[in-house]
Amino acid sequence: MSVANYFESLDYGPAPEADTNVRDWLKSHDASFGHFIDGAFRPSKDGKTLSTHEPATGDELAKIAQGSAEDVDDAVAAAAKAQEPWEALGGKGRARHIYALARMVQRHARLFAVLEALDNGKPIRETRDLDIPLVARHFYHHAGWAELQDTELADHKPIGVVGQIIPWNFPLLMLAWKVAPALALGNTVVLKPAEATPLTALLFAELAARSGLPAGVLNVITGDGSTGAALVKHDGVGKIAFTGSTEVGRIIRAETAGSGKSLTLELGGKSPFIVFDDADMESAVEGVVDAIWFNQGQVCCAGSRLLVHEGIHDRFIARLKERMNSLRVGHPLDKAIDMGAIIEQSQLERISALVGKGVEEGAEAYVPDIATPDRGCFYPPTLLTGVEPASTVATEEIFGPVMVAMSFRTPDEAVELANNTRYGLAASVWSENMNLALDIAPQLKAGVVWVNATNLFDAGVGFGGYRESGYGREGGLEGAYEYLKPKAWAARKPRKPAPPVPVVEATDSFEPMAVDRTAKLYVGGKQVRPDGNYSLTVISPKGKVIGEMGEGNRKDIRNAVQAARKASGWATASTHLRAQILYYLGENLSARTGEFVARLSAMTGVKKSDAEREVETAIDRFFTYAAWADKFDGAVHSPPLRGVALAMNEPIGVAGVICPDEAPLLSFVSLVAPLMAMGNRVVAVPSERYGLIAADFYQVLETSDVPAGVINIVTGYTKELAKTLADHDDVDAIWAFGGSDVSEMAEARSVGNMKRTFVDNGLATNWYDPKVAEGRLFLRNAVQVKNIWIPYGE
């Protein structure tokens, strides 16, 4: 077209970004890459390779190595060798390196941006303006944590060798989210980039080495899922950090159960985008564009369920359709597009199939009449209206440029619809009424809530999910802890085997009490008979029968969870009230010291003075968590925008607690109290051997104003009850202490709803040592952080 033509048409014309430098870089490697291990590229031991392609054209970009278990061994060995000197460098020494990485990314920003756009298919605008600047930001921010580590995180140490597995949707950004904190805090890394998008990670590793990062500190191993599986299984890895599908996250959880590996999972989502009738509608429409047509909708936190107030629904949808007509889809290196290519054919087919299914189930699809390239892997922006919550497309993550729309009548219903999902990654709330927006945000089950915004990210603000969207946070201090372990905690030793259960003396009767007392279960604020109506015998170390306690079964667990679920008021009760009740529990326990001392001595055979110490420490522990209840505050982050991000510590919900046999009263209190303090409801399974101590506790509960359902106690066979709790899909967290087998089972069975787990892996906790047995570690495990982004300005 000529100038004169453009003068008339005012079309945009072609505006391609040059790819010469990237092609030159590929050529310099003969478009063929090995793994990056111990500071250098090396081919797979078995010589196997894979190809990576340009989604926009289907052309092959490069050959990459297909990693085998042997290659993973090499990478882990290199990382292990490098770890000690890397840790010994100290925070300040590492800060220099991480800073150098940030500067390196900035110096090569365009090379990274173009390579990412080619390998992934996303628009150069996004890689250039969003991905790469955020990558640099993450390294800057974490250079800061390294700098401050020796003073601010002095009681923690690095985990060691970390295995990290990242997805194809933000290849280099996910590398930064994982590598920056891990390295900054003294770990070394084996990173496996996605099979479809390995190139920016390889470029990063090469340039990092050139900028002075010691060999072995960062290793990149390429390959398909089997390579990732080998990394997950590897014994030399202390932690796995994974971002990807919930399906794979589940497999990783099950695979690492009982291994003692710490785990961060960033999984799928079906995030709501809620528009109230007092929103700036034009901006909300633009928000939808940023929510679901950013990165072709291949975003785990994409706002993909549009919930619009019924009164403005039709106007909003009409305007949204009009807006869709001006979206442009094209080659990723075209500087005048909104959307690029879908990652690969199989994804395209999956998106098509789901949209087809949606239409089949009654939705109406709107696809604007806009041009898409003839060649390559492209899918047009799509809006499905008339979708019901029961539709497949309303529940399944589509992971493509497809928005599904529904309406709501009231704020309550908006929250209900928003939370009507197995996921809980992000949410977006649009309203000009601050009262409304700040009322809704805490009610949403999501790790990130954006008020009048969407898809905002920053290295200083934690990111991560609730529910089946995973656990752990990335970014900020909340993310830093994921790559550390408390020194005191790390010093625990394996638990000594329990003494054998004594043989009951020939006299099979127990000393009669003045009046018979029946130990039942404690559910919903009442003592109830076990469903099966069986009892277990509790025997003293000398073989004397001390008493009987209820034998709870699956149904008792079910009832207890139901009661706990109903006690939702505890989560929103004031922290002052929760503190008062915890103090009151301590007070009432104190009043019964004699009774508990006697029981402990009789059951466990400890000296009276030891039993007194246990009761005394248990009282202290209640006081400790009463003190914490109104002090474990969140944070106000300052991301680079006019506004704030509120990091709120929210209760997880209903937690199952499996207690160990040692210090049966103190361990029970040490596990239950922090959960209560943070607003969780608890279903506790006390020590199998000494469960009567919990039964004695019912009367303390009954006299301490604990609302019904906040604590429920089911005595019985630990493994059977733990299994039911870990399996239960309405239990949000499980804490399992007592034996490595129980830990493993709890972790393995937590995958149904991806509950948060906190286990001891059979390591003994000294419940008397506050450094190990109380405080921030327990509190952090008792909450999940929600970050509410609030940009402001009139």
Binding site: V3, A4, E282, A284, S326, E794
Partner: protein
């Protein structure tokens, strides 16, 4: 989005600018409910503006075409205390021939009769400018109503408009009384604007909101809507004399109001950003914003004007660069 509304489709009889006729906005009753429900989220508006530059790019031949179009949308302006008749004549000569003929030839648009959209002066020089532009289609625009502060007596403002129209001004750029907006007195704003429009008669009226004085985007949005209801043909950001001039966020808000008004009434209202738009890069950003928010139709001079004095010189340099491949200098282009 790029569909062009054909001439006369909306049933006009009034002659439009450059003969590309659309119906004038007749205005309508003041609807306060509609004004008060307007919401603007500043952060979200700014985000849209920040990212737009990366979403659209106009390069090479397309850029030259767009810049030539921008010239046709330019209100070539002089509004200074030291203006004289000769200064205004020089400006008019530039308006007639804004780009060196050899450049137009090289760009293949010599036959397009490219002139600026209008010449904009104070009332005192209207007659001079009309005379200097005799034989062209270039209208003369007069700033009026006690420009720039707009604090003259209301009747004086109306007489000022009438005098400029009598002298041959075909466009009147009025300023609103900011007090009405700042105090939320929408009825007073509406009445004032209604009177201005009536006083203009056949002349088109551009309502200057002086957005820098209004401070908040919500004020800008509501004032835009009230002025359109009262019959403004154009809404315009600034006089160029406030401390803050046209910005993309202010413009985005005004464009969205223009779209709402069109949706509800069917009438097309024009937009004129003014003040501080001095580079080719700036003007392209505004053109992209217009095209994305309102569509291709709003890139023509009957719906888009740029109030500018130094912008043209920068565009000329860019056009020469496009022709020669070498960076240009100001002294190679005749001054206005």
């Amino acid at each position: 989005m790029s569909e062009i509304i054909p001439m006369g489709e909306t049933g006009t009889s009034a002659p439009g600018l450059h003969g590309n006729a659309i119906a004038r906005n007749p205005g309508q009753a003041l609807e306060l409910d509609w004004v008060n429900e307007i919401q603007v989220n500043r952060s979200a508006v700014e985000r849209r503006c920040t990212t737009l530059g990366g979403r659209r790019s106009v390069k090479k031949d397309a850029q030259a075409g767009w810049l030539l179009k921008a010239i046709t949308c330019m209100d070539l302006t002089t509004l200074n205390g030291d203006d004289t008749a000769a200064r205004v004549r020089r400006l008019c000569a530039k308006a007639r021939q804004p780009v060196r003929p050899d450049l137009l030839e090289a760009l293949g648009v010599a036959d397009r009769g490219i002139t600026t959209g209008a010449v904009c002066v104070y009332h005192r020089f209207v007659a001079e400018a009309v005379d200097a532009l005799d034989g062209t289609f270039i209208p003369v625009a007069a700033v009026s109503t006690g420009f720039p502060a707009g604090l003259s007596p209301h009747d004086t403002k109306l007489r000022e408009i009438e005098a400029s129209v009598a002298d041959g001004a075909r466009e009147i750029d009025i300023v609103v009384t900011r007090e009405h907006v700042l105090t939320g007195n929408w009825q007073a704003l509406y009445d004032e604007m209604r009177d201005f429009r009536a006083a203009c008669g056949e002349a088109h009226v551009k309502a200057i909101l002086a957005t820098g004085d209004l401070r908040t985007l919500r004020n800008v949005a509501r004032a835009s809507m009230v002025c359109m209801m009262a019959g403004a043909d154009f809404i315009k950001t600034s006089t160029g004399k406030e401390t803050a001039n046209a910005t993309l966020p202010v413009s985005l808000v005004m464009l969205r109001m223009i779209r709402h008004y069109q949706e509800r009434t069917g009438h097309l209202v024009g937009f004129k950003p003014a003040g501080g738009i001095s580079t080719a890069k700036d003007v392209l950003a505004y053109q992209v914003l217009m095209k994305e928010e309102l569509g291709r139709r709003w890139l023509e001079p009957d719906l888009l004007r740029f109030g500018a004095s130094s912008l043209l010189a920068d565009i000329e340099r860019q056009l020469e660069h496009h022709v020669t491949g070498r960076y240009s200098a100001y002294n190679r282009h005749p001054m206005a």
